[in-house]
Structures are given as C-alpha cells and as structure tokens.
C-alpha cells in the first residue's frame, strides 16, 4: 500500500496532463476516462473519482476542455468532455516540461557510478 501511495503522490501533479492525453485521443465521459487511465498505466494506477471531478472542473474553468451532454437513448445521459485547442497546447507544453523534468530528476536522483 505504501508504495502505491508514493506513486500516487508523484502522479497527482500531472493529473491534468494525464486526462488531457486521454481526451486528445477522443471525446470521453468520466468513467471511461478513469478506465482509460487505468488501462494506460497497465493497471498500476487507478484514478479516484474525487480527483477526476476536481481535475475536470479545473480544466473546464481554464477552457482547456469543454463539456456536452451525450444523447444516449437508454440509461442516464453522460457528460462528455472535448479537448479545446487551448487544451491541446497545454498538453504539448506539459509533455515538453515533463520530458525536461524527467531528464533532470533522473540525473539528480539516480546514483552515478563513476568508474
């Protein structure tokens, strides 16, 4: 349990980008976004509902995503999210900054065996 908590902490700061990635692949609704993230992580990470709604709300406020109600004929109607051009830019920026950070953090944390 401890290990998975540590990784959740590391992931939390990137939730917006993780959700944007899913939406860049196509419009989607809450539960399917959670499933897609679980699948993308190979079942190692599970997004919790409260974090999902918090992130979606923030992204919508920042106009990186927009929402619309689906037209399911049976069962409850679902609220779909669609990434905007602003959201795509934000995603690309987050990806770039993550790549840079990853390289630096690797250098900083990983033991350098000098021979």
């Amino acid at each position: 349990m401890g290990e998975s908590n540590i990784s959740s902490d590391n992931i939390r700061g990137h939730l917006d980008a993780i959700i944007l990635r899913v939406l860049c692949e196509g419009d989607n609704y809450g539960y399917e976004i959670m499933k897609a993230i679980a699948k993308n992580s190979g079942g190692q990470y599970e997004l919790k509902e409260p974090s999902l709604y918090t992130s979606l709300k923030r992204l919508e406020k920042q106009k990186q995503i927009v929402s619309y109600w689906g037209d399911e004929t049976q069962g409850g109607r679902r609220k779909y999210y669609k990434v905007t051009s602003l959201g795509k830019e934000a995603y690309e920026a987050a990806l770039e900054s993550w790549k840079v950070a990853k390289a630096i953090i690797d250098q900083l944390i990983e033991r350098q065996d000098k021979s």
């Binding site: 609704y29 809450g30 409260p50 069962g75 409850g76 609220k79």
Partner: protein, 229 residues
C-alpha cells in the same frame, strides 16, 4: 439503480438550486451507473458493484467551489424581502401581546423594523440597471452553511437559557420551598405565558441565516455569464 440514486441524493442533500450543481449531480450519477454496469459485466454481483460504486465517492464538499460568484444585489434584495416577510408575520403574531409592557415594546419594534425593511426593499427593487443587477461578489457557501448551523445552536442555547431564567424567576421559590404554584387568574396566566413566549420571536434571526446558503446558490453566476469577478 435505486440505491445509487439514493446515495447521490444524500451526497447532494445540502446543495440545491444552482444549475451547475444539478449538472454535477447528474454527471456523478451517470458515471457511477456506468461503473456498476461495467463491474457487473465483469462478473461482480450487482449489490457488490453498487457497494464499490458508493464507496468510490463519499463526499462532494470538495467539489463545490469555496468561493462562488453570486449576483450580490439580486441576492440582497431577496434576503431583504424574506426578512420583511418574517418581521411582518412576527409583528402580526405579537399583536395580542400588546396588553403587556414588554409586548408593546416588542410589537412596536417589529412594526418599526417592517417599515425600515420595506423602504430598503422598495429602494433595492427600483434599481433596475444591468450594472446594478449584474454586480457579482465572491461568497463562501460552505462558510454560510457553517454560520447557519452556528446560528441555530446559539439560538437553541438562548431559548434554553431564557426558559430556565424565567422558570427560576417566576417559580424558583415555589420549587425551593416546595409550595404550590398559584396562578391568580387568566390575566396572570397570560402574563406568564407571554414571558415564556416572547423570546421565541428571536427565531427570526436563525431563520434568516438558514436561507442564506440557498440564496447564494440560487443567485450563483454561471461560468460563462461574462461578468468578471
């Protein structure tokens, strides 16, 4: 899907009114329904799936904005209107108590209050400009809920204390010396009743606190209304 419905209704029990909150409620319910459908398709029993879904979200308080943009002048007008209504009712209800000194004073004060609130209300309703109606301010709805609870607690304590105080002042010696309570007649009885009844007029105060969170949500400004905070 009944027990899911109930669960979501419970989550949202405090929150009514605003369109955004209604949408969030529908969204959460539909996602939980999708979760249950998915879990049962994966072989889980229906009741277990509902359990899992219910445990996955147990509070929505964090999802409600701490600070809500509210059309403050429209909200104030309705609050004054409700206050006016309550004070008028209290004024009418306390009319019979005019036969006693404290009753006359309270009844007079309520009449004065009605007149003042009435004037304020008319002034507020006369201002019809968009600038005035569209003005927003940020309010903390959660804090309003806390203040509402506090107002009721303080009022309950006040009522208990006045009842105890009246009883001690009126019947303290009867209780102490274990003598019979003597009520001289209907007039005396009415005097006693008035002393106990008048403090209840103060229920006006918590009643007004009670409606504030609802009004905040009713006059909440949507994200896309174009008014900047």
């Amino acid at each position: 899907m009944d027990s899911l419905h109930k669960h979501v209704n419970q989550l949202f029990a405090k929150y009514k009114g605003s369109k955004q909150i209604q949408e969030l409620k529908r969204e959460i319910l539909s996602n939980l329904e999708a979760k249950v459908a998915d879990l049962t398709a994966g072989g889980m029993s229906y009741s277990d799936a509902v359990d899992v879904a219910r445990r996955s979200i147990t509070s929505i308080d964090d999802l409600i904005d701490d600070q809500s943009k509210v059309y403050v002048n429209q909200m104030t007008a309705e609050l004054v209107q409700r206050g006016l209504l309550y004070v008028l009712i209290a004024w009418i209800v306390t009319m019979p108590f005019r036969i006693f000194g404290s009753g006359i004073m309270l009844n007079g004060l309520l009449l004065l209050g009605s007149i003042v609130l009435g004037i304020v209300y008319v002034v507020l309703r006369l201002k019809k400009q968009d600038m005035h109606l569209g003005r927003t301010a940020a309010f903390d709805v959660q804090a309003a809920f806390r203040r509402r609870k506090l107002a009721w607690i303080i009022w309950a304590v006040f009522i208990i204390v006045t009842i105890l105080y009246n009883t001690a002042m009126l019947f303290g010696s009867n209780i102490w010396f274990q003598t019979q309570v003597k009520i001289a007649g209907p007039y005396h009885f009415a005097t006693l009743g008035t002393q106990y009844a008048l403090p209840f007029v103060s229920i006006l105060v918590p009643m007004l606190f009670h409606i504030v969170p609802g009004l905040m949500m009713k006059y909440e400004a949507g994200e896309d209304d174009g008014y900047e905070a």
